[in-house]
């Protein structure tokens, strides 16, 4: 078995095999830089953090989960936070709910590092928890907010802890981030982002209706190298669009848990994947004709 991505690098070259990955790192870095320009350089383009921010002193953005928790806690939220929620909902309805996870969230860098290390060191075993655990945890955070009347999840939320920590001071927060890294590395493959994180779960609910999608448009030319499954942080989302032609499944990855990271587009030597929209999803004729006689 060849190492993951070797085939693609031979076919397309290194740059084309890492294009989306590098763009994504650039996006994550740029978002962080925008937030850091204020405290470091006195250039106040964006104030606040991912929970709520104000860009150029006009555009508000609010994290949906933290706001829903506040509402569940029984607080009548003021206008600016609600406006910020509308902006965020609109934005991610277009570019894909969990695009937040792979293009913005700073924890993604940590968990991607863990996944990369895992492959490099060759750690095989992984604890098993259902990927739906995140929705249970999401429900728990809301129930907890309602019961305690406070946004309890923010006490330990690694996402805001890392982002806020980088901007406002980390304190003992680095231990939580280290714990997430070690958990993903040694305990569970893609454990945090792929199984547990309620922020990602919340964004995936938005992603249920979002426009921009990865599509296995040229799935006919798939050579079953399985590299896309190996690099995908949510490999279960690929099965049906890539291999479900016979069952009548369209080529677009419709699962809300796809993070639109584009790693599958990079890694495929046959250029099976591309970015497309949810509406560009023709139901496979092969499937229809196969089932028609019954």
């Amino acid at each position: 078995m060849t190492a993951i991505g070797i085939e693609a690098i031979q076919a397309k070259g290194w740059w084309a095999t890492h294009r989306w990955l590098l763009l994504r790192r650039l996006s994550q870095l740029s978002v962080m830089a925008l937030f850091m320009a204020g405290p470091w350089l006195g250039l106040w383009l964006v104030k606040g953090n991912l929970n709520h921010s104000r860009t150029l002193d006009v555009l508000p953005m609010t994290d949906p989960l933290v706001l829903i928790q506040s509402l569940a806690a029984g607080h009548a939220v003021e206008r600016n936070a609600l406006l910020g929620l509308a902006v965020v909902l609109l934005f991610y309805l277009i570019i894909g709910g969990r695009a937040y996870c792979s293009w913005v969230c700073p924890v993604n860098v940590v968990t991607d590092a863990a996944a990369w290390l895992r492959r490099r060191i060759g750690i095989r075993g992984s604890a098993h928890i259902s990927r739906s655990a995140r929705y249970w945890i999401l429900g728990m955070t809301l129930a907890l907010a309602a019961i305690t009347g406070s946004i309890a999840w923010e006490m330990i939320n690694p996402v805001s802890m890392l982002h806020r920590g980088l901007i406002f001071g980390m304190g003992a927060g680095w231990m939580v981030i280290l714990a997430v890294l070690l958990f993903d590395l040694f305990v569970m493959s893609r454990g945090w982002c792929g199984h547990l994180c309620p922020v990602g779960a919340c964004f995936s609910l938005i992603g249920r209706w979002s426009l921009l999608r990865v599509s296995a448009e040229r799935r006919d030319s798939c050579n079953n190298c399985m590299d896309c499954f190996a690099v995908c942080p949510e490999p279960q989302v690929l099965r049906s669009p890539l291999k479900g032609a016979a069952k009548g499944a369209g080529p677009v990855v419709m699962s809300p848990n796809c993070t639109n990271c584009g790693r599958c587009i990079d890694i495929c030597s046959k250029d099976v994947f591309t970015l497309s929209s949810r509406f560009n999803n023709p139901v496979s004729m092969a499937g229809v004709s196969a089932t028609a006689p019954k």
Binding site: H75, G165, G171
Partner: protein, 259 residues
């Protein structure tokens, strides 16, 4: 079914742990003060999204967000009066910055803020209590002669001087912490505490007679209905308008004496 139960129990455990931890972390240490307009303790933690915009818009850079490991709930804003007190900006930019209303936008007059309440905690080290004229807390108070007054008292030690006792009035004090920050002692004798910690509360039925009299414009009890308690007077002295049951008492005592 079993999977669902497993999941529910597992996540439930996590929730329980987090809930209990959150309950503990809810208590604000006395040294940490919330920005002006902050909702009451529990409401605040349900409303604040930990974004830090109040921190950013504070022109004096007084506020900070609690870090994990601090005693204050992670990510929430506070200041420590002894380090840097609130400058009480007239336009209250921190409240304006708050997107959720965790800092109540109804607060438009900073002198009505109730961040905490200053208390002259230590009467033993306060220089004014010792009879000196330090007066610093009184002088720096943004609401001088309203929130802090100097109450005059005879100095028993020298028997010829006056002690000027700094006295905080809770209806005026905003809890800005200027007094605590500027106290000249190594450890401040005057400190800002959360109002709930600093303030006493009489029973709801309790009425202060002279206050009621002032409100009503006249005494609420008619003079002739007042039962006068006996005054102990030297034998034979009579005081006009006072009952003097002394004689009666004395005669009764002598009656009882033989027993």
């Amino acid at each position: 079914m079993l999977d669902t139960a497993k999941m529910a129990c597992g996540v439930g455990m996590l929730g329980l742990g987090l809930g209990l931890y959150g309950k503990q972390a809810r208590a604000l240490p006395p040294g940490a003060i919330r920005p002006p307009g902050a909702l009451k303790k529990d409401d605040f933690l349900g409303a604040c999204v930990r974004c830090g915009l109040c921190v950013r818009d504070c022109p004096y850079d007084i506020l900070s967000l609690a870090r994990p490991g601090h005693e204050v709930a992670t990510g929430t804003p506070f200041f420590v009066a002894r380090n840097k007190p609130c400058e009480m900006c007239e336009d209250i930019p921190c409240v304006k910055a708050c997107p959720t209303g965790a800092l109540d936008p109804a607060l438009t007059d900073i002198t009505k803020a109730k961040m905490g309440l200053a208390v002259l905690v230590d009467h033993e080290t306060c220089l004014n209590f010792l009879g000196l004229r330090c007066d610093v807390c009184y002088r720096v108070c943004p609401l001088i002669d309203k929130a802090i007054t100097l109450e005059l008292q005879h100095n028993e030690r020298t028997s010829k001087h006056t002690r000027f006792l700094p006295t905080v009035h809770s209806d005026q004090c905003t809890g800005c912490g200027k007094c605590e920050a500027s106290c000249v002692l190594e450890v401040s004798a005057i400190k800002v505490y959360p109002v709930a910690l600093a303030k006493g509360e009489p029973g709801s039925h309790y009425r202060i007679g002279w206050e009621e009299k002032r409100k009503a414009g006249k005494s609420l009890v008619e003079d002739r209905n007042i039962i006068d308690l006996p005054d102990r007077l030297p034998e034979g002295v009579k005081l006009e308008g006072h009952s003097d049951p002394g004689g009666r008492l004395k005669s009764r005592m002598s009656d009882e004496a033989p027993r």
